[in-house]
Amino acid sequence: MMLWRQFAMEWRLYSRDRVAMFWTFAFPVILLMGFGTIFRDGGGPKLSVVRVQALAPEPRDAALDQALADLQLKVITLPKAEAEARWTRGETAAQLEPAGNGYRLRLNSYLMAQAGATAGVVNQAWLMAQARLSGAPEPQRIPIQVESPGHKRSANYASFLLPGLLGLNLVSMGLFSVGMVNVSYREKGKFRRLAVTPLPKWIFLLGQVLHRLTVTVIQAAILLLVGFLAFGIQNQGSTLNLLLLMALGTGCFMAFGFALSSFAETSESYSAISNLVFLPLMMLSGVYFTLDAAPAWVQHTVAVMPLAPFLRALRAVFNDGAGLAGHGLGLGIVAAWGLAAFALAVKRFRWA
């Protein structure tokens, strides 16, 4: 009864805090809708090459243009001066220009992801053009299929992003809704006021934890619903596995919040400490993008942090319908972090 009152009051006060409601419920949906729509085709921005017009067109130019068109690369043909101006503005990823008896490709060092892919296509087109000019048999292309690691066809970016957001929500719930709130309760003396009443402290804390749990459940449900309605994303794995994973993540990151809150005296110092933890976790754990391009030491480091292995397992279940068996080590790492944080929180938690 006391617990219920405490829980109900948490919800009532929370529902009056519009800013918190926005960040908790609306913001993840906006992120999913925004990024999901921008990168709907999964391939990032369309590839294009700037083609500098030849002064005196040769047969090979026509053959190359034809081959580029066959490979569906967008070609922007410009006179030399205009192409140079565009290059200087930094808008060109790859520029194809006549050089001696053939061509030369210039790649923009700031846009290497696009430029590298474009260079591959241009070279392939040039091989095709040369074969056609010499009357050799048409070279055959190897077909490509985009697939997730578990062989499910989930090529759109939204389906990659959604589990990332589910995981990130747990982290921000733990660090901010639990950790920050406890620091401010301690700082402002709310705990002290409670300590002079007969209310058992565990009821107060449990009411708070239960409230955050229901918030998390609702938040995840909204994201899953929007993901399904807008992008047709569905959980490919078993519901039980998904729930188990979410429960593990919730426990781990909530313990994180409690543990971290014991290291700060004021809200200001807590916000510095928590961002020190939150920002690297968010940027480096593969929430928004895969980490293949990161240096090996970064990949090895985040692999033993709690969020990256959690997201790996979550994506395996959610996107690929995998079981949990193959993720024992990763989930062990998450659980170890959670237990360590819990032990630290129990040892260090202060009411005043």
Binding site: G189, R192, P198
Partner: protein
């Protein structure tokens, strides 16, 4: 219901590098309003927090309503009411909700409406806490301290930071508490508040009780019931030479001299004569009754407002 409401013996508390409470003994009778008076840093709040169970003492014994923290903590909590120096509530909780919520923590509770009436917050009963004035927030804090119909109420600087009108209305609430038969222990650094509200006082300084008694007896014990004040236009000059000539103690405070005396009628003619002879450029003369401020000054050599 016999025995004192509160009795303390040999209370000591040292914080790192600071001796906050250095051996305090107090007895508070049932039904009285008892004041702990002293400047900031005198140890009032620490003493109160130890009594309330928020801080543990290094040494000393405390009995609250005949109970001890070691054995009957929960019973003490349910029978005392506490207003902390800053009661922080959620910004968007209403007084009605706060009283309902805190009331639900206790086995025995008073009606929310009755409490709202008592502290005159009916009109603001459903306004968010953050929209209440300082005085209204403080009255709500008092109502929260009364939510369990406590026998003993602790108020830590209940009127600090309030305007005179808000202070008066809070004093009324404290008087009503006494009228209902509750024992009230409050801290304050306002002399007028202590004189107006308290049946008995303990004057604290440097973590110790310097004097205990009723406001009237403390003043009477001074044996200097009156003070003659000479005010100056600007800073008061050094009174040493004048005091020697007059054969009377003269204390300098900012823009005035104070001459404590048991007999102002006898002092005044001599004072005027000496002042004229020494060409002391004073502006006005006041004669006033000694106050608790003088008691404090006399006992500690420090002003309460320091």
């Amino acid at each position: 219901m016999s025995g004192p409401a509160l009795s303390i013996r040999g209370l000591r508390k040292t914080f790192p590098k600071v001796l906050a409470v250095a051996g305090v003994d107090l007895v508070v009778a049932r039904g009285e309003v008892f004041g702990l008076l002293g400047p900031n840093g005198a140890g009032k709040t620490t003493t109160l927090e130890i009594i309330e169970g928020l801080t543990t003492a290094d040494a000393g014994e405390i009995e609250i309503l005949g109970l001890t923290w070691a054995k009957q903590g929960q019973e003490i909590r349910s029978r005392i009411g506490v207003q902390l120096q800053s009661t922080s509530l959620f910004n968007k909780i209403t007084p009605r909700e706060a009283l309902d919520l805190y009331g639900s923590y206790y086995p025995k509770r008073r009606g929310t409406q009755e409490l709202l009436d008592l502290v005159q917050l009916e009109e603001k009963a459903d306004a968010y806490h953050i929209t209440l004035s300082g005085g209204q927030q403080q009255r709500l804090a008092l109502a929260l301290a009364l939510v369990n119909d406590p026998e003993l109420v602790f108020l830590d600087e209940p009127t600090t930071g309030l305007d005179p009108q808000a202070r008066r209305s809070l004093w009324d609430v404290v008087r009503r508490m006494k009228g209902e038969g509750r024992t009230v222990v409050l801290t304050t650094h306002y002399m007028d508040e202590a004189e107006a509200l308290c049946d008995r006082l303990a004057i604290m300084g440097h973590g110790q009780v310097i004097a205990t008694g009723t406001p009237a007896s403390l003043i009477a014990d001074l044996a200097i019931p009156s003070v003659v004040e000479l005010t100056f236009d600007g800073a008061a000059p050094d009174p040493a030479a004048f005091a020697a000539r007059l054969g009377q103690a003269v204390e300098r405070r900012a823009d005035l001299w104070e001459l404590p005396t048991p007999d102002p009628k006898a002092l005044l003619p001599r004072l005027f004569e000496a002042a004229e002879a020494a060409a002391v450029p004073f502006q006005q003369v006041h004669i006033r009754r000694a106050t608790l401020e003088d008691v404090f000054l006399h006992r500690t050599g420090r002003s309460l407002r320091e």
